[in-house]
Symmetry: C3
Subunit: 342 residues, 3 copies
């Protein structure tokens, strides 16, 4: 494993830049992999992402205005389309070649806006994760975004090693059995897979609320991580010994971790369920509970970041429960090395 | 031109330190060219400026008290006159030579307090700009001070290239015609002169309010810049084709840009008019509108500074409308080189 | 003397970490000599101090929970006793040697919690100052803690040279005579002693309130400093010429200065008195007045720190009243050199 807590970024990847509804005709300024980006939605519905810096005098394009499918700088009025091509310089007929804004490929899918931070020529939409649960008649979901003041790798660790839920999330998803149940960890090609099966176990407070369980349950957590920031957790429970999905709950906690800067990360999350699909109260309950849960993590992760930053040469200690974390960091290192080698 | 966004400071110059009314017997702490200064007004009305650091234990003299025309340190009571000479060390008869505070020459003129940041021997009050409009029976003015979090050169650029008013100041002084009207730019010895004549043009919202125009106007903007921070804008309008000053308005937007630090600047501004001289509502209206206008700039300039700081080696792009800006930066570079050569 | 304003820290010393009542079963995060420490009180009443960084994933132990006399990490549940020994790693039977948290020796005495920042083997409780007034039937005290944003040496200076009270503390303990009365300064082995006797002097506002003096008094200040941060001030007054303790007041201002970081310091203070022992209003009055007094200092010291930080090579000027300050800095330098030599 590597203890390197500040990996270089993988650039040839689709990162989530925003939820679809965040992009409107008022531009949104968002830093991604440390780069300031101006995101907007044009009149036709198309989404655009330009470097948040006008090539003219370096004003922030996010302070500009959307005109048609273009973004006009709010300072001296240069206008760019969503490929960064300058369409107009007020008061002058010619447009010099340097009057070009850097653009980032965007794809809107699964109600999310995906941004490609590497070579635009390699931006293949087929590489976007297949998050079918976000657009499927048998699933409903709650969703949100939360920012942590830590390097994204700490959030990767957090979501892969759920033993922490026993200590951090007693109010929602944690129970005693999570930390004491060993996991099975496997590398499946480009995916790290971590599985925890808890049979005949007490349901967590959130499971009792969502699933209406009265007695013990058989519960599972199956975590799939793909570098750099895609983590899907398959989690659910059925009444103990029944093996009957119709009496249990099946959920997906779908996460994309997009580094904002070296010291901060956006966590785009959705909590998809196969029950109570039309129940808006359930949607809201789950949104509240998951927001509460991730805010409990935030306190710890932000503090962890401060400790790590102050101890650049100190190694972390890996316990048994860290098998998935160790494997994930190795996978990430491989991807980084592969990209550096290209 | 130079793209150097952080020029050394010209020191042999009168900078505005404060509006006259800002200086009282409660000392004012203000950083000028990155140097902390304690400004105060003595009992006799004289103004003083000392380095904001007592030579004894380095307490801030701005935390002290004015006694007569002297400033007494608020920590151990050393007392200095406005030339920095120590007049008293409590509890000890002798005053060693090192007990001297650095002072800065000050002159109060045009209701402004001017500070000389260079060699005191060269502090010639004749070099203070002739801002007659601030003390003239045919003129009245509104005034204020605003701080921007950017290097002062960005504010120089802003005030010299008024094409931005079309996009930034639609509510007050901007109209479509400003950005599309070409300027004439001239170097007149130590002055950069930029002229924009807009005949048969729609008056801006502020011009309609202030001048009561109902139809089209002939409008002019004449900008005079002298390094390092003196910018006077002669601006006005008359009803189209009349050429009749008595039916129009004549104004001067008088600006001094005093660097606070490398990343911030004080903008002392006055808006002088030749009409409604005794109308206090007009004074207040114009103060409000100009404050609103400059705050619109502040958002852009502060963002521009962030972009520039993150891209130290990236060149700006100069468009046609930047002719005055380019000339101003060249003038400034000459002045800096001349001062360095002395 | 040395003008070095950022001395290395003396490590082999007992610093005050907290007032006794600050430590409960909710851990307290506090930086001491720049090191983050998690302080807590166990069920049995024992106090513990661990590095605020779990050896596992570097979470802050101060986010954890107290269980018995142990502190359990709030992230993955590793549990440590107050010597830093790991007692449990959830989900795994073996505890590797690296699963050890750094601990700091603590002693609770005089209602204060003392921490040893050096080699634990050298942590001899006999070295804790004899602050009998904090546990004595003939004395009562008010107490508090205040943080300053300055290096602790500036606070040492402040408490040794009380001439500043004339200028800073006019509302409470300052009078004209303090600054103009010369001091006697002596080195008594490891102690710097500064004495100021003011006979036939006007009592300060606080002395009038506390001692009920109506006319002049004979007043004294005797300051004892021991490196690194122990300052006891014996201060009192009797009606002029009476030499009668029963008609006067005797007080001890007891101070421990614990560096938080290079730029900040905790000031633990107690104000002990030999009068009105059971008068809670007097306790509160004195707490309020001393808090007010030290907050007046804070403004100056924080500003002084900014000036010092900006002028690393500029020497301070030593006046007559600085004799104690100069001697204290020399003492501190000796202690530092001695510790470095060991």
């Amino acid at each position: 494993m590597t203890d390197k807590t500040r990996p270089e970024y993988i650039r040839d990847a689709w990162y989530v830049a925003a939820w679809g509804e965040e992009l409107t005709d008022t531009p949104l300024a968002r830093s991604i992999l440390g780069e300031p980006v101006a995101l907007y939605r044009g009149e036709s519905g198309v989404v655009g992402a330009l470097e948040d810096c006008c090539p003219h005098r370096m004003a922030q394009l996010s302070q500009g205005v959307v005109e048609g499918d273009n973004l006009r700088c709010g300072y001296h009025g240069l206008m760019f389309d969503c490929t960064g091509t300058c369409k107009e310089i007020p008061g002058q007929p010619n447009i010099p070649p340097r009057a070009h804004a850097r653009h980032y490929p965007l794809v809107e899918r699964w109600n999310l806006v995906w941004i490609w931070m590497g070579d635009p020529a390699a931006a293949n939409p087929d590489l976007i994760p297949e998050w079918l649960w976000l657009d499927h008649p048998k699933w409903a979901y709650s969703h949100g975004i939360i920012q942590y003041d830590c390097n994204y790798i700490l959030l990767v660790d957090n979501l892969i090693d759920l033993s922490h839920t026993t200590f951090v999330h007693k109010q929602t998803i944690g129970t005693h059995d999570v930390a004491r149940t060993p996991v099975k960890t496997e590398r499946q090609n480009g995916t790290v897979y971590v599985e925890r099966i808890m049979n005949d176990t007490t349901p967590s407070p959130l499971y009792r609320k969502a699933g209406g369980f009265e007695g013990k349950v058989d519960r599972w957590q199956k975590i799939f991580y793909e570098a750099p920031g895609n983590i899907v957790i398959e989690a659910g429970a059925v009444p103990v010994g029944t093996n009957d999905p119709s009496r249990g709950i099946d959920t997906r906690i779908i996460n994309y971790l997009t580094p904002e800067t070296d010291d901060s990360v956006f966590h785009f999350w959705a909590f998809a369920r196969d029950f109570a699909l039309d129940d808006l109260d359930m949607t809201e309950l789950l949104a509240d509970q998951i927001t509460l849960t991730f805010n409990e993590d935030k306190v710890l992760l932000d503090g962890q970041q401060a400790n790590l930053a102050a101890r650049p040469s100190q190694r972390l200690l890996d316990n048994n429960a860290d098998s998935g974390v160790v494997m994930a960091r190795r996978l990430l290192a491989e991807r980084l090395a592969a990209e550096a080698g290209r």
